[in-house]
């Protein structure tokens, strides 16, 4: 059972914008309101829009389950791996060794005064936000998928 053509077309049009906005919230988590969980929830809302609009067998072909499992596990592994990487280098657990290092997310000198915000700062925190965002995206989409597989009386 699927919804009417108006609902399906609206879901198709809205989906890329919702996903882009969610990825923006994840990526700017350390300088604007929001973060990994909020951005991941917004992206999962876009996926839920498509899942609600289409029939179960269409959704099954559109969204592969193994990809969502990999996202969920990969996000958690990235989170704990980023925490353990500091211990390997001789620092405490979750030490922010990337900040001010000049490499990824480590610009040492940031501009003062009113400015739109330097994205390439924060050290660890953008990595944590990306990991949590990937994990929440996969996890919440899996929740909705299992819910609809119970309604569809089919094994997913």
């Amino acid at each position: 059972m699927q919804m009417s053509k108006i609902v399906r077309l609206s879901a198709d049009i809205m989906y890329p914008f919702v996903v882009i906005f969610g990825l923006y919230v994840i990526m700017h988590g350390h300088i604007t309101p929001g973060g990994g969980f909020q951005g991941g929830a917004v992206v999962a809302t876009g996926a839920a829009l498509v899942i609600v609009a289409y029939a179960f067998h269409d959704v099954k072909a559109m969204i592969p389950k193994i990809l969502l499992y990999l996202q969920e596990s990969g996000g958690l592994l990235l989170f704990i791996g980023a925490g353990l990487a500091g211990m390997l280098l001789g620092f405490p657990f979750f030490f922010n060794w990337l900040a001010n290092s000049g490499s990824l997310f480590g610009t040492p000198i940031v501009p003062l005064g009113p400015n739109p915000g330097e994205l390439n700062t924060g050290g660890f925190l953008p990595l944590m936000n990306i990991a949590v965002g990937i994990e929440v995206w996969g996890g919440l989409t899996l929740v909705i998928l299992y819910m609809i597989s119970g309604v569809g009386k089919e094994e997913y």
Binding site: P33, G35, A41, V42, I144, G150
Partner: protein, 84 residues
């Protein structure tokens, strides 16, 4: 002044959407009224200077919870059977 007017409009909308959620016999309309309640309360969080909580509420409350309600209604009957 205009902030106060918007604030009172949002609060009145909260009460109206909550009462509509209670009174609808069509469960799909009740789920959508519940989603409207979540959306208005996220607007209220934004007015009260908590944009972080507002994004969470709009994503989880207005988006995912309404989707789960709609999927659950798809699995059962759409109309509530009255007792009167």
């Amino acid at each position: 002044m205009i902030e106060l007017v918007v604030h009172f409009l949002v609060l009145a909308g909260l009460v109206v959407s909550a009462v509509l959620t209670f009174y609808f016999r069509d469960l799909l309309a009740a789920a959508l009224a519940s989603g409207l309640f979540s959306f208005l309360i996220s607007l209220e969080f934004y007015i009260l200077q908590a944009p972080d909580v507002a994004i969470s509420q709009a994503g989880i409350g207005a988006g995912l919870t309404t989707a789960i309600f709609i999927i659950a209604i798809r699995g059962t009957r759409r109309f509530e059977e009255g007792t009167e």
